[in-house]
Amino acid sequence: MPGDKRPIRDGPCPAALQLTIPGHAEAVSAGLRALLDACVMRNLPDEGRGTAELVLAEVLNNIVEHAYARHSGEIEVTLSRDATGILCEIADTGLPMPQDAPPAGTLPALDGDDLPEGGFGWHLIRSLARDLEYRREGGRNLLRFRLEN
């Protein structure tokens, strides 16, 4: 993550947005709406917006459910727009990822008699996000990935 995370404010539609969201489910719902309404997202085509909303929802909900399973904290989201898409940088102070790596996102087996009701989140993230990187640094989880146009 770059040292300078200040949003760039050049004109009426900034190319970057930084938002801090309390790490609980209701705040994530409201935070997602704010992220999707942000100027930085506005030029995305409809399909790209749907994908962005889905990936961000899965990432943020995972943080609430797993990273902040034992204590509360905040989620810091930085979105930066460039020619080919949006760079997403997401930080939290929750528990580290298991084995210090994001889950593989293997699709659970679809057994007709006992269908899985969960385990799809990381599969969706890995299917839709590009250049996913994770670091644990100074008690923080730092996740970054790209959403293509």
């Binding site: 699709l107 799809f120 989140g121």
Partner: protein
Amino acid sequence: MELQAEEQGGALVVHVLQDRIDAASAIRFKDRMRDVTQGGLRRVVLDLSQVAFLDSSGLGAVVAVRKALGPDRALELAGLTPTVQKVFRLTRMDTIFRIHDSLSDGLRDAG
């Protein structure tokens, strides 16, 4: 979670009158679905045409509803919007559920 249920062509049609089934609303969706599907109609068609967004929690809730209906009743889906369709396709749940392009297609197929 606002749902509206009605009998149409021998099936129970449940319209979801809300634009998201997500982590914040998945449990309420499951609870409301349990209430509205208590009648004995064998076929349940879930009209998702007003749902613009469904995440993995929402998907899990739809799967849970299907399982709760039991082996003798069917949960079919109709009117998936593009992002919802994408979730079903990427998770291959589109191979498990009977999915109709629109509610009228679904009811026509009922014969």
